[in-house]
Symmetry: none
Subunit: 226 residues, 2 copies
Amino acid sequence: MNGKIFIIEDEPSIIQLVQHNLEKEGFLVASSTNGNDGLKDLKKFEPNLLLLDWMLPDLSGIDICKNIRNNSSHKNLPIIMLTAKGEEEDKIKGLDSGVDDYLTKPFSFNELLARIKAVLRRYDPKVVSNSLEFEDLKLNRFEKRVFRKNIEIQVGPTEFRLLEFFLSNPKRVYSRDQILENVWPNNINVESRTIDVHIRRLRKSINIDKTKELIRTVRSSGYSLI
Amino acid sequence: MNGKIFIIEDEPSIIQLVQHNLEKEGFLVASSTNGNDGLKDLKKFEPNLLLLDWMLPDLSGIDICKNIRNNSSHKNLPIIMLTAKGEEEDKIKGLDSGVDDYLTKPFSFNELLARIKAVLRRYDPKVVSNSLEFEDLKLNRFEKRVFRKNIEIQVGPTEFRLLEFFLSNPKRVYSRDQILENVWPNNINVESRTIDVHIRRLRKSINIDKTKELIRTVRSSGYSLI
DNA sequence: TTAATTTGTAATAAATCTGTAACAAATTAA
DNA sequence: TTAATTTGTTACAGATTTATTACAAATTAA
């Protein structure tokens, strides 16, 4: 486990408990005891997940949550709310305001950990694992390996990045411009037709013996992973 | 809302309640009352989310969940577990086995809906937005795909844009001029009769086997989606 | 260094899409 | 009813888009 977790919580004893245990699990942890500081520090820390107390001295957890969801830079930050209230009404409010999960105090650390893993697994699998998958295709970022049907296949560096990009959003159609922007190093100028050639190379590599085509051409729009 | 939700649950009364309400919300719902059938049907249905009962006649929810997580094709299917047991131990087991959330019976439909939305919003934002529908016709901008009765149909780029335009305002009649303005790239000059030909092409594509005509001709005014 | 691999481009082939014209069919007006 | 208007349908040539190949330059490894 290697993600960064930020905690906004006004009870130091809880911070201490959670931080200590999360660090033992391999997370990098930072925290703040009030909402305004938290929102500021959050930006610098760039966590993969936020643990957010419902009741804070200055802002409410819901306020913070909404603030985050409306602020483009951390729009999609997964949030787990810690709450002392137990009523269903509040729970729903929390979930609808964009919270990913909530936990009622007092909670056991194990329960918290399980939820963190579940949310991260769903939201940001690369934090939990560094392998991207789609059907029988697997890409390991860490080892820089690609497999089809568990058989390793060789792809060049550009094809690797290209596949990595497609795997980050399977089924979504990307235009050649979007592909250029995301797969090629910044400010490099390549002919947009060049992409076709790399697509061809990638296809050639990943379509081993009679496996189905995984890259879809969408005429006048671009390409997608099926 | 337009995602597909699959339910594996052995109590017909719950299925009925949930299915009915989810359909009212715009979801496409299918279900199964036991684990083995469920696992099979799941693959055909390709849902965006699974509601899974903890206790089933044949397999346990946990078994099913693990099976899904280990099976490459639906590895990342979001799962919400429905459980009658309330002990924390079980909850953790569920979450660690890859469940995204769980709900303890009895639950209110609103609570369920809130959770479904929360999970989908995080996991599969394109399901929650980005798709246009009218009756049994569906267009996904994200994937650039068109479906009639859940069967994918192929349309050319211009027909896609044309359909996208009609879907943005079903039932409204558009004149050929309006269609030209909105569907064709700016400053391009095409004969207005050309639209008739594209309408014909679009009709041909979306009217698969005996489905009813969806594009209405309004003589001397234009066309509309029924 | 040399050899091997990777990369971008250009050229050409192949596939698909597009607009128009021509005629048929349907509808409305006289 | 006939004539006029509007829409449906088809075929086709030209245009556009994508696939494929070959090759030279650049990069990397040995």
